[in-house]
Symmetry: C2
C-alpha cells in the first residue's frame, strides 16, 4: 500500500482562485495538514481529519505528513497561493531528501495555485507583462547581503521585481532598506504596487511612485511589485490606474 502526499495551492484570499485540480485533490485526501488559517478555508468533508499547525513549523509539518503517508494514508498539505513559491513544496522535498528511504517511494503530487504576485499583478493591470523576478525579503533563511546583491542585479538588469514576505514583526527594517537600494537603480517615478490581502474583503491595492513608497504600510499579507524603468501607468478618471510593462523593449539603456 503506497501512501500519497498532495501539496495543494489554494491561491490567495477566498476560493475564487481555487482550480478544479486543487478541488479534486482536496476531495481525495483522508488527512489534511496545514497552517490553521489555510485549513480554515477548506470546507469540511466527511471522514477527513485535520492537523493545523503554526506558520513557522513548516519542516515539522512536512515530516508529520510524510510519516502519515508512509503508513498508507492519502495526505493533503494545504498552502496559500502556490505551494512551490516560498512555501510547502520545498519543505516536503527537503524532508524527503534527509528522511528515511521509504519516503522516496511515496506518491508526491504538487498541485499549483495562483501565487500572490499573479493576483496582485492582475488587480493592477499587467506589471509582469515583461521579464520579472520574485524575491523573498526574509533574511531568516538567507543572509541580508545576498538579498541586496539580488535586488541590485534584478533592478540594474531591468527585471520587474515582486517582493514576497516584505515585513514581519521580527523584520521591521528590511523593506525600507530594500526600497532605498532600489531607488539608487531606478527612476523616482517607477511605479510600485502594494497589494494587501488580495481576494479577501479587506483587500487593498495602492500604486505609488518609488520615491514615496516608503510611506506605505506593509505587513506579511502584502505583496509588493516594483516596476522597471519601462513600467508605465495609465491614469483613469474615477477608476484605479492601470500599471503595465510593455511587451517590447526598443533599445538597451546603459
Amino acid at each position: 500500500m503506497t501512501g500519497r502526499v498532495a501539496i495543494i495551492g489554494l491561491g490567495p484570499g477566498d476560493d475564487r482562485y481555487l482550480t478544479r485540480e486543487a478541488c479534486d485533490a482536496l476531495d481525495a485526501a483522508d488527512t489534511l495538514f496545514g497552517y490553521g488559517p489555510y485549513l480554515d478555508r477548506v470546507p469540511a468533508r466527511d471522514g477527513q481529519t485535520r492537523h493545523g499547525s503554526d506558520n513557522r513549523e513548516e519542516g515539522a509539518r512536512a515530516e508529520a505528513a510524510l510519516r502519515q503517508a508512509a503508513q498508507g494514508a492519502s495526505v493533503a498539505i494545504v498552502s496559500g497561493g502556490d505551494p512551490g513559491v516560498f512555501a510547502m513544496a520545498a519543505s516536503v522535498c527537503e524532508a524527503i531528501a534527509t528522511g528515511p528511504e521509504t519516503w522516496r517511494a511515496l506518491d508526491i503530487a504538487v498541485i499549483p495555485g495562483i501565487t500572490a504576485m499573479l493576483a496582485v499583478a492582475a488587480r493592477a493591470g499587467a506589471p509582469l507583462g515583461h521579464d520579472f523576478c520574485a524575491l523573498s525579503l526574509s533574511d531568516n533563511l538567507k543572509p541580508w547581503e545576498l538579498i541586496e546583491r539580488r535586488l541590485e542585479a534584478a533592478a540594474s538588469a531591468g527585471f520587474v521585481i515582486a517582493l514576497y514576505n516584505p515585513v514581519s514583526r521580527a523584520r521591521p527594517w528590511q523593506l525600507a532598506k530594500a526600497l532605498a537600494l532600489l531607488s539608487r537603480h531606478l527612476p523616482d517615478g517607477t511605479p510600485v504596487i502594494f497589494g494587501r490581502a488580495v481576494g479577501r474583503p479587506d483587500e487593498s491595492v495602492t500604486v505609488i511612485p518609488l520615491a514615496s513608497a516608503e510611506d506605505i504600510a506593509a505587513d506579511m499579507a502584502t505583496l509588493i511589485i516594483v516596476g522597471s524603468s519601462e513600467t508605465r501607468v495609465i491614469a483613469r478618471d474615477g477608476r484605479s490606474p492601470l500599471v503595465y510593462t510593455p511587451r517590447a523593449v526598443e533599445k538597451v539603456s546603459a
Copy 2:
C-alpha cells in the same frame, strides 16, 4: 452603458487549472476573443459569439475587443496560462494607452491563471522554492543583447530562471546560445527541467544536467527551468526525480 473587458487566464493544458473566477468570467461574457486553440478550450455557451485570430495578432485582437466593449459589450479575451505573463493583459494596456480616451472609461478586469512555470515546477517538485525569475527568450520584441545581460545577471546573482518562448521556427539558435551562456555561470550539474505541453495528453517533463541540456528538443510549447547552484535532485526508484531549491541559503558564494 459601460462595456467590460475581462482578460482571462485558462492555465496551461486542459481545464484542470481553470479557477472558479475564470469560469464565472467566461459565463458572464457575451463575446469571446482569442487565439484559436485557446478559444477551442472554452465550451460553447448559448448566445456567445467568438472571434478567433492568429497568435501573432495580439495588438489587433486587443483593439478589436476594446472597440466592441466601447459599444457596451461584455467581452472576454482568453489567454493560455496567465494573461499577465508575456500575454494579452499587457497588449490590452498598450492599446488603451494609445487608443481613444473612451477606452479608459471601460471596466477592465484581469483574471489570473496558472502560468506555465508554476505548472512545470509543480510537476518536477519545487524548483521555484527560492528566488527566481521569468524571462522570455524571444528577441522579436527586445534586443538579444538585453536577453544576454539579463541571463547573466540572473544566473550570477543565484536566481532560478524560467525561460518562456525558448524556440520558434523563426528563432532556432537562441536557446543553445542562452544555455551556453548560462554554462559559464553555473555548475555543469545544475538541474534543468524541460516541461512540454504540461496538462495535455502528450505532456513530457525531462530533468537533465545543464551540461547536457542542449541535447533536449524544445519548441513553443516548452517551458524550461534552469536551476541555481543551490537546486538539488532527489533520485527515486521507478519514479521521476524530485527537483527542488531549498528555502534556506547558508552562505553567499563568490
